[in-house]
């Protein structure tokens, strides 16, 4: 059986890479590009071999476009998350479990590090080093199964993050996500912690559904946000003023703005300037901030410069197929494998979930609590489904997509419930083909045939 050699960055790009700026962090420290290079070519392959597995089934595989240098730095931020969070945690920074697709401004401003379930699992898997992809997945699956045994087999794989917290694989100081942004499982999973031996404090920030033209919804969230910030600040010891909040809002707004500017540039380009992995990685940075908004925004700025240069020189991202079929991806917590799609002749040109939060900046004057609340309530993804689908159709047109795939996880009730509805509306309004796919693999890269086949068949049809 042929063994694929691990992925590595070629020596010939080293000089060019280390001539680029390093990264700045929120604690004032910096890392040079030479140090990043050392980490990504020596230390990381040794500590996290799974991440360098070049098999096409590796969902977290790095981008093949090694000449897109910001992509290497993005890999660095992802792989150093564990070290950075552990270090800050040891110095007294509280870690907070949050929900995906929600604003992080309040959490960072209050001196915490918000981590959503996906990042918790990545962090948990990285707690053991030297693992191959298979070993790392087995570790993740064992955590997942322990959660399913304790709670329910009906849960989506977010349950793994809660089990990782329960089993003390990662230290979380506060469980305080927004409910019910996009998700039905989160609230019940948070609730299960009340029946555990650990005594991690918990708080829920209610995010009401069906909130259009209802000013009382924003007022309700704003009151809860104050309480949330007080709770985090009590753990971090930080004194919170409106000014502190606005500073964070301005920083994260900058990230959101750069990401939307990149998307506009990217969509307008004759040739896609990056492949799908790098394009989606950008949205992710502005949505998640990977534990450090200062570093994430710094990297977004660098990414934008590179993309501008590529567009000026009409450079196509490495791996983007000729006459690629342009696919828009819908749904939360799961997406198709970019490498498989690329091989089948497609590129991903947008994603409703991540782009939704980025598309709404927070007002920078007035009451910061109310402003955050209002901006979150304006997320297109969280509107009534018909309105959300109309926005999606608009995004599909703007990104010149040829087809739309709505994906949802096994066990996901809330998103799966409207998969067909959104697909139908987008098909009608944007005039493109759509499909919806359930992903039942629950984190197993070796059992992806079913969803991969469906995606590939769809690409062929497009």
């Amino acid at each position: 059986m042929a063994i694929t050699s691990p992925f590595s960055y070629p020596e010939e790009i080293k000089d060019k890479f280390i001539a680029t700026p390093g990264l700045k962090f929120k604690d004032g420290s910096t890392v040079s590009s030479a140090e990043i290079w050392e980490f990504m070519t020596k230390e990381a392959p040794r500590r996290f071999p799974y991440a360098f597995d070049a098999g096409a089934n590796n969902m977290g595989r790095f981008s093949d476009d090694v000449h897109f240098l910001s992509g290497i730095k993005r890999g660095y931020l992802t792989l150093t998350l564990k070290d950075r969070v552990m270090k800050q945690h040891a110095a007294g920074t509280p870690t907070v479990l949050v929900q995906g697709g929600q604003a992080m401004d309040a959490y960072y401003a209050a001196g915490g590090i918000p981590v959503r379930p996906g990042l918790v699992m990545q962090w948990a898997r990285n707690m053991e080093e030297g693992l191959s992809l298979r070993q790392s997945e087995t570790l993740g699956l064992n955590i997942l199964e322990s959660g399913r045994r304790k709670i329910s087999i009906d849960a989506c794989n977010q349950i793994a993050a809660h089990a990782a917290i329960d089993n003390k694989v990662v230290p979380i100081d506060l469980i305080a996500p927004f409910l019910c942004l996009r998700c039905s499982d989160m609230s019940f999973l948070v609730e299960t912690h009340r029946n555990r031996v650990h005594d991690i404090p918990r708080y829920l920030v209610d995010y009401p559904v069906d909130h259009e033209n209802k000013p009382w919804a924003a007022e309700y969230i704003a009151v809860e946000l104050r309480e949330l910030i007080d709770k985090i600040a009590a753990l971090s010891g930080r004194k919170i003023t409106d000014e502190v909040l606005f500073d964070e809002i301005k920083l994260e707004n900058r990230g959101r703005r750069i990401a939307t500017e990149i998307a506009d540039l990217w969509w307008g380009a004759e040739n896609p300037p990056t492949n799908s992995t790098d394009f989606f990685g950008i949205a992710f940075l502005a949505n998640d901030f990977v534990g450090d908004p200062v570093a994430a925004v710094d990297l977004l700025e660098q990414s934008k410069k590179e993309i501008e240069e590529r567009i000026q020189n009409n450079v196509k991202g490495f791996g983007v197929p000729d006459h690629a079929k342009r696919l828009f991806i819908c749904g939360s917590c799961v997406g198709p494998n970019a490498h498989h799609a690329q091989t089948a002749g497609a590129i991903f040109v947008g994603r409703d979930d991540s782009w939704s939060c980025i598309s709404v900046p927070v007002q920078e004057e007035g009451d910061p609590y109310l402003n955050i609340a209002k901006s979150m309530l304006a997320y297109p993804y969280e509107q009534r489904t018909e309105k959300r689908a109309e926005w999606t159709a608009d995004m599909v047109k703007r990104s010149r997509a040829d087809g739309v795939i709505f994906m949802y996880q096994w066990g996901c009730n809330y998103q799966s419930g409207v998969a067909r509805m959104i697909s139908d509306i987008v098909k009608e309004r944007a005039g493109v083909v759509t499909t919806f796919v359930e992903v039942g693999e629950l984190g197993r890269s070796e059992a992806t045939e079913q969803s991969t086949n469906r995606v590939e068949a769809f690409i062929e049809m497009v």
Binding site: S184, E191, P208, E219, V223
Partner: protein, 401 residues
């Protein structure tokens, strides 16, 4: 041990769809409501005919529903969606307006799917997750006003406070009478079974409210006449089962039938399709917000998360009812993909184990394929309880001797 009024009620239920059709021909409108915190008195006071849409037990409809709302939606909601797709249910056929609440997010999704695919006129009442906080109550008061405004638009007239007071009084009487009747089924030498009372409660979802109250009163009078002092206690050899968990709507009698067939006697429930929504509803102010808050302040539905186990009112209520009805074991019914109840099954089992009450979780769908497996498990559970109580009795005898 037949109670005569129950036959009248069965007959009236058969006639009801036709009656609704005639009422609509005369200009009245039917509001079908789906959910757990829909303040029905507001619908009633606006002159609409409220009908609860809660059906289950039909796997074929579940299949149809899954085509619109995915196979990962709970079985109950899939059936509801399937029933709207098929449009054969005599009550669904008679609805002019639908009112959904968002207590459970899957219910909210059903509202969206039904509105879009089947072009229904849908009104939604959002419900706060942090239901116990003052700010959540304030939010819900606004929601209740908005819900009322949307219904007023459809009624073509504003809500009259005097009529709301009348509706509240009527519903309060219904709840009070139901509670009295409920005691009889759990008594020694009972003349009405839990199953009959359960059907009686669900009849109220469909019948005209004034007539329903009068039928309940007749039922209660009949019961009082036949059993002067109902005492909640065991009959010889009883295995007293309490039913908890996901709702069991009309049309779904699989588990209930199994319990009876293996010799279990159901003596109580805290189902949202049973007595629970009728308990502890205290409306302090005659206004849309006052009524809605009365609903929200009841024992909370499992879809509303609560983060402290010790002070959880839902669990407290369960324990209180178990002791009141002298239940010996709990059968905890969870529907496939009903996360609100399923995720709490093991926790509830642990909590009850501390007071020596065994719990059996039955995780099921509407398909008949698990019937035998369910029966075997329920039978073993009932046997276990019987043996336990025999041993306890023997020990009691020895101690007394």
């Amino acid at each position: 041990m037949s109670v005569k009024t129950l036959d009248v009620i069965r007959k009236r239920l058969e006639e009801r769809p036709d009656e609704l059709r005639r009422a609509r021909e005369n200009g009245l409108k039917v509001v079908g409501w789906v959910g757990y915190n829909v303040p029905e008195e507001i619908i009633h006071a606006l002159g609409f005919i409220p009908v609860r849409i809660a059906i289950g037990g039909d796997d074929r409809l579940v299949e149809i529903g899954a085509r619109y709302a995915s196979s990962k939606t709970c079985v109950f909601i899939r059936e509801i969606v399937g029933a709207f797709a098929e449009n054969q249910d005599p009550y669904i056929q008679q609805t002019d307006i639908l009112a959904f609440d968002a207590t459970c997010l899957q219910n909210y999704r059903a509202a969206e799917v039904i509105e879009y695919f089947f072009k229904k006129d849908v009104v939604v009442l959002a419900v706060p997750r942090n239901f116990h906080l003052d700010e959540a109550k304030e939010y819900f008061a606004h929601e209740a006003n908005e819900f009322t405004r949307l219904l007023e638009e459809r009624a073509g007239a504003p809500l009259d406070s005097a009529r709301l007071a009348e509706s509240v009084a009527l519903y309060n009487d219904i709840r009070k009478t139901l509670k009295s009747i409920y005691t009889f089924q759990a008594s020694k030498d009972n003349v009405i079974s839990w199953e009959e009372v359960y059907d009686l409660i669900q009849a109220g979802d469909l019948l005209d409210k004034r007539e329903y109250l009068s039928l309940l009163t007749q039922t209660l009078d009949e019961l009082k006449e036949r059993q002067h002092h109902p005492v909640i206690a065991s009959d010889d050899g009883d295995c007293r089962i309490f039913l908890s968990g996901s709702l069991i709507p009309r049309g779904d009698r699989k588990l209930i039938g199994i319990i009876r067939s293996v010799g279990g006697r159901i003596v109580g429930d805290d189902l949202w399709s049973g007595i629970l929504p009728h308990l502890d509803l205290d409306i302090k102010e005659i206004s849309p917000a006052g009524v809605a808050l009365g609903y929200l302040n009841r024992t909370p539905h499992a879809a509303l998360p609560y983060l402290d186990l010790e002070s959880d009112r839902r669990l407290k209520k369960l324990q209180e009812r178990l002791s009141e009805f002298k239940a010996q074991g709990v059968i905890y019914h969870t529907l496939r993909y009903c996360d609100p109840f399923t995720f709490k099954a093991k926790e509830t089992k642990n909590v009850l184990a501390k007071s020596g009450i065994p719990l059996l979780e039955i995780h099921t769908e509407y398909a008949g394929s698990d019937y035998e497996a369910m029966k075997t498990r329920v039978e073993a559970f009932v046997e276990m309880i019987k043996i336990k109580s025999e041993i306890a009795e023997e020990q009691g005898v020895l101690v007394d001797a």
